[in-house]
């Protein structure tokens, strides 16, 4: 074999294991799912082609619109508040917690919850939300405030899940911390010379300088929050009154509880396209807001 030919083949050999996995476990199942979305398929019997009937039924299905509303509410609040919260914690840690030791310990404490398995965390939070014995209502009781039925009241169930989601801001906080440390000191010195306040430094220097990291975290958060599944499934099973019934939960139940794989596939493809659209829109909007160092 000639050297040129070998050079052409070797890279493919190196990526072959990934490529094989991608084709077998991602590409082929995705294409099959696209096909199933135009069929009625229960897993137990052969699929029957029904054209666009699944999509037409989704259009008429009130639960479909409900899960879209719930998922968008969850995603928008959790992305927005989660980003602000993580950024705030990172800024506070970087500016107020001096010394590698104390800062490291604080960061480790905030990061630690992300290492707890979701099921364990969800069960612990469900207990903390218990109307009678839970931590939150105990605290409210001490403060003389009325108890809240956190997970059992349709008005409170979704906010409760969103609050629980902030348990995981550690990952974003670490990214922001790293980005903040990378902001050139000269920019802060220039701001100081101009007499910029602390808030002004944050708004006019830090945030623009770390905007690529913010964009990265926002994109990841959007994608993850649109796929939220574990916490609602474990803590509320979508209730009460479908107030926490989210998109992924409906896909799962359609496929594996109701035996409607075609319907679930149609939902999955709509979600993929919607997620791509939202991600594309976010990228487009970010062009005017994100500053890349060195870019003209």
């Amino acid at each position: 074999m000639s050297i040129a030919r070998r050079r052409a083949i070797v890279p493919w050999l190196w990526v072959a294991p990934w490529l094989l996995g991608f084709v077998l476990f991602m590409l082929i199942p995705s294409m099959m799912s696209l096909y199933y979305s135009f069929t009625d398929y229960s897993l137990l019997e052969p699929p029957v082609g029904i054209g666009l009937a699944n999509f037409a039924e989704l259009w008429r299905d009130p639960l479909f619109w409900k899960v879209i509303r719930n998922t968008l509410a969850y995603a928008s609040v959790s992305v927005l508040v989660g980003t602000v919260l993580a950024l705030l914690v990172a800024v506070l840690l970087e500016s107020h917690v001096k010394g590698r030791g104390a800062g490291g310990v604080a960061r480790a404490i905030i990061f630690l919850p992300t290492l707890v398995p979701l099921v364990a965390a969800a069960l612990a939070w469900a207990f903390m939300y218990n109307p009678e014995a839970g931590l939150f209502n105990r605290v409210l009781g001490v403060m003389g405030l009325p108890r809240i039925n956190w997970l059992g009241d349709a008005r409170w169930a979704m906010p409760s899940l969103i609050i629980m989601g902030f348990w995981n801001i550690g990952t974003a906080m670490v990214v922001y911390s790293a980005a903040l440390r990378d902001v050139p000191r000269s920019l802060y010195e220039a701001a100081d010379l101009d007499g910029v306040s602390r808030l002004g430094r944050l708004w006019h220097v830090s945030i623009p300088a770390i905007s690529p990291a913010i964009l990265f975290n926002v994109m990841i958060s959007i994608i993850w929050s649109l796929q939220v599944f574990g916490a609602p499934q474990i803590m509320t099973e979508g209730g009460p009154d479908h107030s926490t019934y989210v998109y992924q939960l409906y896909i799962y139940e359609s496929a594996f509880r109701y035996g409607r794989m075609g319907y679930a596939s149609a939902m999955a493809w709509i979600q993929l396209l919607a997620t791509l659209g939202i991600a594309g829109l976010t990228l487009a909007l970010s062009r005017r807001l994100v500053y890349y160092r060195g870019a003209v």
Partner: protein
């Protein structure tokens, strides 16, 4: 290591080669898996998926051990599976199902229509009781369109558990606290008297709440003479007048006891059912609707609890003590299509359908027997003195079984949604009419697609 190999004069290629050959030899060396370690030589192994774990799983293991010792050809290995309906669907659909699978009775129509289970009348019928051996309400659950597709693996109905101490304290039942409420009117009156609230308005002790636990939101209609499904016309009956009356009754609870207070009380105990903190076992609920197995958990966690069990009360005018009414459900056992040795699977299923086997299992699970005839020893040895209550409901011609339609899981969830809507103040009739429209659409769609499959339009590739 590398240095040592080089120094000893063995090339790296040779060392890798030796290691490769060693690995191949190790992987190809014949040996038995850990799972098969206890299997006697010469036995054919059957894998049996079942949902039960803990004490219920151990009871089942006792039955399996008896089968394994009863003959020398087969050996059944129990595989406990959580969320068994979903996993069995994936495994059987993918052609890699178990040899025998335990499911819930609501799965029978789907498996039957899809041909994913083997009809039991396609096997040799000797040593199997057939229809005559089962309670009629149980037989309905095992069959679909006239053919048996599953064996039974215990059955259950629901009963009203009453805390006799609370009843006495509240002056209910006169001098005989063994007489629990028989009608909905009596139940409501008792619930009012038994409920205790604290200074903040929170419920400290619930007399009776229908959302505690919210496991069978579809079961209330039958108490008001409601029906869920018409077998003859393949029609959903969600908005049957009896079901609407039941939902109107449900709607009175948040009004009487406070929507938030009643909701918070139920939520408090949502994760403690069957534990020592179970609302009934811990004395926080005076009356509760539950299955026969609750007696087992009472024995385990609070054996001194003074309680009684009665049929769930019926609407005024419907109660007839000799003919109670309820919904019968069952755990079933199927032989998946495509299993490696259907005859061997059938031999095990047939063993499981023996009266003695079902009685052994029912005793351990604290349930009534699903079989038409019951031995004298069964009643005598039963750990629950109220097993007769559940047995009477299961036998009653006025009882019904779950709708035999493949869309039942979705239909049941819709009824659960209607319960939630009504609890939050929605109109019962319109909530059930909405369910009726959606459920009937699903039934019609499933019927039409089945017709197309039967006509040969859907052979694998649409």
């Amino acid at each position: 290591m590398t240095l040592a190999i080089v120094q000893s004069g063995v090339s790296r290629r040779a060392a890798l080669g030796v290691m490769g050959v060693g690995a191949l030899a190790w992987s190809a060396w014949p040996r038995r898996s850990r799972e098969l370690a206890g299997v006697p030589r010469g036995r054919k192994v059957l894998h049996y998926w079942e949902k039960w774990t803990g004490a219920e799983g151990l009871a089942l293991q006792g039955v399996i051990d008896a089968f394994n010792q009863s003959q020398e050809k087969l050996w059944v290995i129990r595989v406990p599976i959580s969320d068994i309906s979903s996993k069995a669907m994936v495994a059987v659909g993918g052609g890699d199902g178990p040899d025998v699978c335990g499911l819930f009775s609501y799965s029978v129509p789907l498996y039957a229509e899809a041909g994913a289970a083997m009809p039991l009348d396609s096997f040799p019928q000797e040593d199997w009781c057939g229809e005559a051996g089962y309670l009629p309400n149980v037989w309905k659950l095992l069959t679909h369109e006239g053919r048996p597709w599953a064996g039974v693996n215990t059955c259950y109905t629901l009963g009203l558990y009453v805390n006799r101490t609370h009843m006495r304290e509240a002056g209910l039942g006169g001098t005989d606290a063994d007489v629990p409420p028989r009608t909905i009117g009596e139940l409501d009156a008792a619930a009012e008297k038994l409920t205790r609230t604290d200074s903040s308005g929170a419920i400290a002790r619930a007399g009776f709440l229908p959302n505690l636990p919210l496991w069978w939101p579809y079961s209330w209609g039958v108490l008001f003479d409601g029906r869920l499904y018409d077998r003859a016309t393949n029609t959903a009956m969600a908005d049957d007048p009896g079901n609407i009356r039941a939902m109107e009754w449900i709607a009175t609870f948040p009004k009487r006891f406070g929507r938030e207070a009643a909701g918070a009380f139920a939520q408090t105990f949502s994760r403690s059912t069957h534990s020592p903190q179970d609302p009934f076992i811990s004395g926080r609920a005076s009356m509760i609707v539950q299955g026969p197995w609750l007696a087992n958990f009472i024995r385990l966690h609070n054996p001194s609890l003074d309680y009684a069990v009665a049929p769930v009360p019926l609407a005024d005018g419907l109660a007839e003590p000799s003919l109670p009414r309820g919904l019968v459900e069952a755990d079933v056992i199927i032989i998946p299509s495509g299993c490696k040795d259907p005859e061997a699977s059938w031999e095990f299923v047939r063993f499981m359908q023996r009266r003695t086997t079902q009685e052994q299992l029912a005793l351990a699970h604290c349930k009534s027997s699903p079989m038409a005839e019951v031995s004298a020893e069964f009643a005598g040895a039963h750990p629950s003195r109220y097993v007769g209550v559940f047995d009477a409901i299961a036998r009653s011609p006025r009882s019904d079984s779950l709708p035999p339609t493949r869309v039942w899981p979705q239909y049941a969830d819709m009824l659960g949604g209607a319960f939630d809507t009504v609890w939050r103040g929605g109109d019962p009739a319109s909530a059930l009419r909405d369910v009726q429209v959606r459920a009937q659409r699903l039934i019609d769609q499933a019927t039409e697609l089945r017709g197309r499959r039967r006509a040969g339009n859907g052979k694998g590739d649409a």
